[in-house]
């Protein structure tokens, strides 16, 4: 006891590096390609013509156009996340609880398979499906249900459809990973104690899967908010989101300060969401053996 107590401080001091060395390569990479560029961009947004100024942020805040793009970005991301959740949860539940063990591997393969294709190709596929002379319009015309092709592309619905399609594996896999660790006998216990199938879901399955739901939603939301290809291809020029705006300022208009400003606003909002999300999780984790904390 006393010997162990005497040894502890020394061991702890040496332990910092001993425990964290596996993080070093990834940390170095992140510093170089993520943190450093960000630090370079930040002053850019406060500088116009070599002079320090808040003009960029004033124009972002003062111009209704930017607010509409920010609003649309959030609206599309939130909607896509919710649709992913509603569609993805049952798939995750099926994957973990219902599918025969022999077929589980195949269902996982089907869920993951789309990730092997680039988002550009997968977004282009929607052009083929939703276009003026696309599969949907041709089909409806052929059946005589419509007289003229519907305008299915270049609106928010098309963007949400594309985003949901691309992001849903992340939602399914994240929820499934958490649900896999929820002991099935807990659900049986709820049934045993008089809860019906729906009551069991609401009071046991869903609350215990909440860390996965939050993590999956956060992941999908962040990916949606920063996605460029899908909104650009399916939204058209009139449905701009923040990522498109940033790209435009940097690469087409060459207004680097404005591009940097919008990028910083996007980052600030994202960090705010991470912070809020962590608060929600750590509060929930008290009752659930810290499963929530393990997610980040």
């Amino acid at each position: 006891m006393t010997a162990a107590a005497a040894m502890a401080p020394g061991r702890r001091r040496r332990g910092v590096l001993r425990e964290t060395w596996p993080l070093l390569p990834a940390m170095v990479l992140l510093l170089l390609v993520f943190v450093l560029p960000l630090l370079l961009i930040l002053p850019e947004s406060f500088t116009v013509d070599g002079k320090p100024t808040l003009a960029v942020y004033e124009s972002i805040v003062g111009d209704g156009y930017y607010w509409s793009v920010i609003g649309r970005s959030f609206w599309i991301s939130i909607l896509s996340t919710l649709v992913c959740l509603v569609l993805g949860f049952p798939v995750a539940y099926y994957l973990v609880r219902l599918v025969a063990p022999s077929r589980k591997r195949w269902v996982y393969m089907i869920v993951i398979a789309p990730l092997f294709t680039s988002a550009v190709i997968r977004s282009l596929a929607w052009l083929v499906i939703l276009g003026r002379r696309g599969i949907v319009n041709e089909g409806l015309l052929g059946l005589g249900l419509i007289d003229a092709p519907l305008r299915l592309l270049y609106n928010e619905t098309a963007v949400v459809t594309g985003l949901v399609y691309i992001m849903i594996p992340f939602m399914v896999l994240t929820i499934a990973a958490v649900l896999e660790n929820v002991d099935g006998s807990l659900e049986e216990a709820a049934r045993d104690l008089g809860a019906g199938a729906f009551g069991t879901f609401c009071r046991v399955t869903f609350p215990l899967t909440l860390p996965g739901v939050l993590a999956g939603s956060f992941l999908v939301f962040a990916l949606c908010l920063s996605s460029y290809v899908t909104p650009a291809l399916l939204g058209g020029g009139r449905n701009k989101v923040m990522a498109m705006l940033i790209f435009e300022q940097f690469m087409r208009v060459f207004n680097w300060p404005l591009g940097a400003g919008i990028a910083c606003v996007l980052l600030a909002v994202t960090l705010l969401i991470i912070w809020g999300y962590n608060r929600v999780l750590s509060r929930r984790a008290v009752g659930s053996r810290g499963e929530g904390e393990a997610m980040l």
């Binding site: 002991d183 807990l186 709820a190 045993d192 008089g194 009752g287």
Partner: protein, 359 residues
Amino acid sequence: MPQRGEMSETIVRLEGVSKRYGAADAVRDVSLVVRRGEFVSLLGPSGCGKSTILRMIGGFEQPDAGAIEIDGADVVDVPPNRRPVNLVFQSYALFPHLSVFDNVAFGLRRKRLPRSEVGERTRRFLALAGLESFGDRYPAQLSGGQQQRVALARALVNQPKVLLLDEPLGALDLKLRKRMQVELKQLQREVGISFIYVTHDQDEALALSDRIAVMNQGTILQYDAGREIYDRPRTEFVANFLGEANVLRGRVLATGPAGIVEIAGKSMPATVDGARPGDAASVAIRPESLELRAEGADVLPCVVEDRVFLGSSFVVYLRTAAGEPLMLRGFDRRQLDGLRTGEAVGVTWRADLAHVVAP
């Protein structure tokens, strides 16, 4: 069909119940009657089908054939949440996101009882389980024994007609398990509810049960009071699974309560029924029923192979002239001191303590 209500003594009845998983029989043509207020154990090795029977009574598995009645009502098509039984899971299955109080109140709230009654009954059963001051804690903050008590309280608070327990003490260490056995038996007497208890631990089954169903390979081999099974095992498996037994091969010479079986050329006494003179037979004798005797017509010559001191008792390992191993348990230490390894001795037993068993 037995009458419903107070008149019937039977609370659970299984009739010809079978369950297959793929090509394997988990449970084969099992019939079982549990009386009101009775403590019944299903005892057998893992994979013998005892848990499957429990899960079928609880409603988590569907039998492929047969009938299950609880308090006179056929429940085969009734979902678990509408059966008047509760199950204590081996893993306890406490809800980790709910406090101890909310865990115990879970069943009462599903019945939509008034708030005051939920609170009153939950507190009463928390007290019964010795957990009055633990209501605000979460399961992860409790010890194994405390979690076990929460699981019991959570099931009993619903006042089920039958409580099903699936190896509920399996996860506890030996000392705590012994103490929980005593508590469990007291609790059962107090609440007066029938318990069906699944275990692979023979001591636990003997200590707790009014009746024991010894199972193997999906069937019930013997269903009776523990003492009855111990004294008169019907098969070799039962003799070996419930307690220890010496099983010797021989040939029946005379039948009846004072029968004779020829073993290694000696005419040994045994209770013989269900066999005729001339039949080959296996005789089961408990280690403590063997007596050392110098010589005689009914004395089996043996050689002492080993002697083991066990504190309150001792065990002597013997081998017969035919090469069959025997185990003798004794309590008189002077007897042990008089024995040497390699020494030739003779053993015998009383006819009422040796039984012909089916293979």
